[in-house]
Amino acid sequence: MTEQEAVTETIKAEEPRIGAFICECGVNIGGAVDCQAVADYVATLPNVTTAVVNKYTCSDAGQAEIKNAIKELGLNRVLVASCTPKTHEPIFRACVEEAGLNPYLFEFVNIREHCSWIHMWEKEDATHKAKEMVRMGVARAAKLEPLQSSEVPVTNKALVIGAGVTGMQAALDIGDMGFQVYLVEQGPSIGGKMAQLDKTFPTNDCSICILGPKMVEVARNKNIEIMSYSEVEEVDGYVGNFKVKVKHKPRYLNIDDCSGCGLCTEKCPVEVPYTEFNEGIGTRKAIYVPFPQAVPLRALVDKSVCIDCGACSKACERGAIDMEQQETFSELDVGVIVVAAGYQVYDPEPQHEYGFGLYDNVITTMEFERLINASGPTMGKVVRPSDVQPPKSIGFVQCVGSRDKNSNIYCSSFCCMASLKNAQLIKEKYPDTEVYIMYMDMRTPFRMYEEFYNRARDSGIKFIRGKPAEVTETEDHNIIARVEDTLTGEIVNLELDLLVLSVGAVSTESTEKIRQILKVSRAADGFMMEAHPKLKPVDTTLDGIFIGGMTQGPKDIPYSISQGSACAARATRFLAQGKALTEGITVKVDEDICVSCGMCVPMCPFQALSMEEGKLNIISALCKGCGTCAVACPTGALQQSHFKNDQLLAQVKNVFAYGEV
């Protein structure tokens, strides 16, 4: 018998002495439930030593009362009937532990979300239900057993997936704290979407001018290893001990020999639209350097269009070209993972929204960014695609792919400011241009944003409050937007040279692939789900895995960078401590009953189970205590600790009143 088993047996042998603490939570519970009546009733139940009412059980005073009762009355189980375990279970577990009780001898009953809040207007019934719920809790509490969580060592390295501005910030912060970081980027350069933008709001400073130095800083940081043009293929393991397989895609040249000089590009005869960086405006060669500020500044070959003519090989003075290059793989050991895999802009083409894809002169914000960008395909000259002439009138349509049941219901949050910025840039560069913004609500929170909006109004941009219903094209390829000016009720048929669709953000296929590899939850909007919308905005429900930036939902640059830093801070806690606690609630197998059928093995979402030499092997550190395997077990050999059959059945048997309530 192990030490833990001995403790368990001692506790089980003891007569249960339960202390029940009924929380009023101010009027949250007290307003609907007669807590004193609940306490009086609970005090009459078997095994209950004491039952009291607290104004706020989670307050210092409430917790002190629990601790005192444990010591003075010799309680060996504690039940709190209050709010949600999601926020408060850790607090009460720590509280009973401080008083010398095993934290798993604590039982939580939620009489707020499950009772008072939903029965606000049925006070009598709410009180009755609360009594029944607590009675069930008492029955289960009597059967609780002590459990131990164990410490696992943590590999003091981090993996950051995605080297956009969020991932770069996370990598820099973790690196600066002295830990090694692998920064994996699927594209050929770090920098992400921000590298494509022209100016950034609300200061209108050049995007690459502020991003470039950060990219260089990442490259210089001795603790950061950039793995560009690489993808995460597999992730195994658990907090502190992740094993990661990374695929390095072939660039068809030796990255150490290439200097990014561009001689090969000059000689390459193949020219294709540059979709990856310039949104298909202008061309690139089959061998190309992503952009002038790329990090690493190295070329790569697009094999899908290369004609194997050998011109690049002849041109390269360093003999870097290697057309036989194959993909390679790295195996990494890391303790924590930060996901900053990013987003893509909403594509209005499949449904030809507002004529996009049908009419040449309807473009997206990102295309506009490349057009007005001084290092873009037109060297910053804004022209309309149909005739390459400067537009005399430009309209911006807000909420394309956002706030719309037909595409995405959420607000993408950055697009109002992006259009205000782009409209102002037009006014600065070409003051005679008529600029319209068609919007429903202008959303400009945060510092200097409303001032920015005010400046846009002052610059003479015309605002029409209405969402265009229809967009058509004239013979001259002008665009006519039919929109109701809802402030006057007039229908306006706006003839424009260029229409810019202010597209929102959506999750990407590559981000979704990583989400599935890591088994992070997905929210209804398609982005990755945080552990708590307010209290744990960059954590996931998986220990040691953090999400930041657009991976978690649409947001602007300052917010993304903040989340990058937040991810770094949250992740580094594990690295700095060098150890992590694993879940105490795990599955256990009764080997006498197990018939080694193996049905449980594929059920486990965390690969904690395996059959070894005809015997079931459980890696407890991997087990999250979800219980899926225990349900699948045909013989009942698997039992989920803390949710054992006798514990749950005790609760079930007490659903119905066996005495006067």
């Binding site: 909420c399 049941k405 265009p468 809802t486 009720g489």
Partner: protein, 169 residues
């Protein structure tokens, strides 16, 4: 008793309350190009519990469903307008022309009875001169009339024009 528009629409599962007044409906409306109908304003009035029942524009909608298809909030605008119309007819509010058409249904079993030109057209198209309705089976007209009677349609559309919403005020 007249139901307030918000309550009526809520009971029919057609709430207008989530409308954000973007005007996509008005811009989409083919009728609004020729009439005084502003769909957005109908929606606005209804959700503010204003008396849309007396608004003649309620009857300018051709029920083409363009606004409902495009509404970014997925509001069932046309279905809602139909529900408001129903209520308004029950209040005794009906435009004279609509009342005439309803009278034709009661008399002839058809809102638009067939004429010689249409008969000719049907023949040209290789169809029977008369459609499979009371036109072909005059003996069924009595049954149609009976149905219109028992469902209360006759009483609803043919009784003296009066505004029940004004009654008792």
């Amino acid at each position: 008793m007249t139901k307030e528009p918000v309550k009526l629409l809520e009971d029919e599962g057609l709430t207008f309350l989530t409308c954000m007044q973007c005007g996509t409906c008005t811009g989409s409306c083919p009728s609004g190009r020729y009439t005084s109908l502003n769909t957005r304003r109908i929606v606005l009035s209804a959700r503010r519990n204003k008396d849309v029942y007396h608004d003649e524009n309620l009857w300018m909608c051709t029920t083409c469903y363009q606004c409902q298809e495009r509404c970014p909030r997925g509001i069932k605008i046309v279905d809602g307008i139909l529900a408001l119309r129903t209520e308004s007819v029950h209040m005794g509010l009906m435009l004279p022309d609509h009342r005439k058409v309803a009278g034709l249904v009661v008399d002839k079993g058809h809102a638009v009875p067939i004429n010689d030109a249409n008969k000719e057209k049907r023949k040209e198209l290789g169809m029977d001169e008369l459609p499979e309705t009371v036109h072909k089976y005059p003996e069924a007209l009595d049954q149609v009339k009976k149905l219109l009677e028992v469902t209360g349609f006759v009483q609803l559309v043919l009784e003296e024009e009066k505004d029940k919403s004004e009654e008792g005020q």
